[in-house]
Amino acid sequence: MANLAQAVRLALHYGETHLGVTDIFGEDVGPPLEGVFTCTQGLKKTWNSPLDERGIIGTAMGLALAGQKPVAEIQFCDYIFNTIDLLKLAGNSYWSSNGQWNMPMVVMTPHGAGIHGSLYHSHSFDAWATRLAGWKIVIPSNARDAYGLMLSAIEEPNPVLYLIPKALLRAKGEELIPGEPENDADLRKMIDAPVMGSEARKTWQAQWPAVEYAPIPIGKAKIVREGSDAAVITYSRHVHMAREVANELAAEGKGEIRVIDLRSLHPYDWECISQAVKDTGGKVLFVNEDTEVTNFAEHLLRRTIEEHFYELRSRPRACLAKHLPGVGLSPTLEEATVPQKSDIKRELEAMLDERF
């Protein structure tokens, strides 16, 4: 089973060979390193850019305007914050030109905490991103979705932000990507580059498996665990935490928790969320690791109130990161800052206990 980094690589391979991807670029995206997280190893269309995020986003916009299909990488989403004006322009080009100039570009960037990344390798970008009108935004939680969402992102005629959960890059999938070899070791041998600087690396070429066209539609959530006593609505690495907590609670006989992996943040699958609110009488918990003041979960919560207030028999909740200037390096600091399994469990237990 491919891990998430391999899945991104396979999707980009499919993209450059079948979907017209012309440029995969960014800092250290091309040889010799081919990605600080190995996501761009063995590809043909990769190249290294200057250390200049504004140039990266700007050039992607120009390529898109010129009818190319760029996939640009910002090395860490922590370093995307000097480009917000450009991201806004990319998002308003089609609208401001009254439907003339669309921007078919993908920006991918590692996201979130969970790797002891301290202040500048722990940022989240989801709350910020959802404020960028004109962008579609996806965030996979597993290899299969990473593959399929990247294919959809590439096929989009609009700018798509593809957030990569940093902490899950080495996490193996549970579902085979259509066309990938059954055996992990085979896949590794085929598409994992030898260590950087080695002799083998110099002549290495990827042996691509014949992966298939298997997009995951943008805008569709996935129910990763059934249940109607309460629901967790989340994405990225918190899908896994939520599922583990749900299994624990089920084992403890406390209830069956539905776990929804949103996968797309814009457009988002309101139908799926709305159904969960109805099915649980409002026992829904929104979880993500961005800071809690003006957070996307608060938007979802507002809409929950707006459309379901008189059906709520219990208080909907959110479990988010503390509103602080950063995530500290020392593990105690990080754990106290971004939601942990224990936080999710505490909220769910309280919710299950709450009287109707």
Binding site: T22, D23, S49, P50, D52, R54, G55, I57, G58, T59, A60, M61, G62, L63, A64, L65, A66, G67, Q68, P70, D85, L86, L89, S93, Y94, W95, S96, S97, N98, G99, Q100, W101, N102, P104, A133, G134, K136, E155, E156, P157, N158
Partner: protein, 339 residues
């Protein structure tokens, strides 16, 4: 010599027909700006910004552009003083007026954007943005597409990016220098700085340590040039040489053009005619008169005709509808081709 130069006489300004054609385009550009200013003053439009004083340069650019859709042709990253360029490419003047009035027929933005924010896919005029200098971060992208097409033996135009002097202080200008001069991947990109010595109210002399802005290209091995944007003949050949260099060498070129700003920054500063700036239209008319190619009366007539053209456009635009409230939801996302 690039293909489209063949359309022009070898020494264009020794050719009466060409010179008069050029003068007429300058006159129409000026009349258009005057109309737009008037509209803003009579609240028939909310904000004016434009290029009175840049006619010689903008017309010289518009005529020499390789116009068309797609990277085979030139890609244009203009800014908000480029009406003359687009008009000279053949754009009907009424469209600028429509945008000024923000009617739904505004082809550039559907009544959404300020005046002079042209956008025209058919001619590779990418959306002009209000954000100063961001076009200099975007232009390397279109130039890269053209660099690649050329390398693959396909027909490819060049990219042209344009901005003011004050704007070069934004990091985007440096981005453009850096990204266009990467070793072995130099880009076919003509960067133009129109230096009118001001950013709104702030004199360039108080903010710019550079003797010439163009000198900033030198550290990158970028070919640079300076040109007098008030002299049609000089700016024509400066642009011709720069364009030719980029088209043939497929390398970047940085051209600094001195221009006048005849009506101040925008309607925010009144848009009235200011003193002490050379008027390229006046200078050129005097020259043509001296050559005996035009009389003052004939020039006046051209101007009157241009005014009539603008009035007609305005009359038409007044009959057109404002966009409907629910049009705000149009064009947020482009549909998939297959949809």
């Amino acid at each position: 010599m690039a293909k489209n130069q063949k359309a022009f006489p070898v020494q264009p300004f020794k050719d009466k027909d060409f010179a008069l054609r050029f003068f007429k385009l300058m006159t129409r550009t000026r009349a258009l700006e005057e109309k737009l200013i008037k509209m803003s003053k009579s609240s028939d439009g909310f904000f004016w910004i434009g290029g009175p004083g840049e006619e010689a340069f903008q017309v010289a650019l518009g005529l020499q552009v390789d116009k068309g859709e797609g990277i085979e042709h030139d890609m244009l990253h203009l800014h908000y003083r480029s009406n003359g360029c687009v008009l000279s490419m053949g754009e009907p003047s009424i469209n600028f007026i429509r945008q000024m009035r923000s009617v739904e027929t505004d082809p550039y933005s559907g009544g959404r954007n300020f005046a002079a924010h042209v956008s025209k896919k058919e001619w590779n005029v990418v959306p002009i943005t209000s954000t100063i200098e961001t076009q200099f971060s975007v232009a390397p992208g279109t130039a890269r597409a053209q660099w690649r097409a050329h390398k693959e033996g396909k027909k490819a135009g060049i990219s042209i990016v344009l901005g003011g002097d004050a704007g070069t202080a934004e990091g985007d200008f440096a981005t453009c220098l850096i990204w266009s001069s990467r070793p072995n991947e130099e880009l076919p990109l003509l960067m133009i700085v129109t230096n009118n010595q001001f950013g709104i109210s702030t004199p360039a002399s108080t903010q710019h340590g550079e003797k010439n802005i163009a000198d900033r290209g030198k550290a990158f091995g970028i070919k640079t040039g300076l040109a007098d944007g008030n002299n049609p003949e000089k700016i024509w050949s400066a642009l011709r040489d720069a364009l030719e260099y980029v088209r043939e060498s497929r390398k970047p070129y940085l051209l600094e053009v001195s221009v006048s700003r005849l009506n101040g920054h925008s309607s925010s500063s009144g848009a009235n005619r200011v003193d002490g700036e050379e008027d390229c239209l006046e200078t050129f008319q005097k020259k043509l008169e001296k050559l005996g190619w035009i009389t003052a009366a004939e020039a006046d007539k051209l101007h009157e005709e241009a005014v009539a053209e603008m009035n007609e456009g305005h009359e038409q635009a007044r009959k057109e509808n404002y966009p409907s409230a629910d049009s705000i939801f149009d064009h947020v996302f482009a549909p998939k081709k297959t949809e």
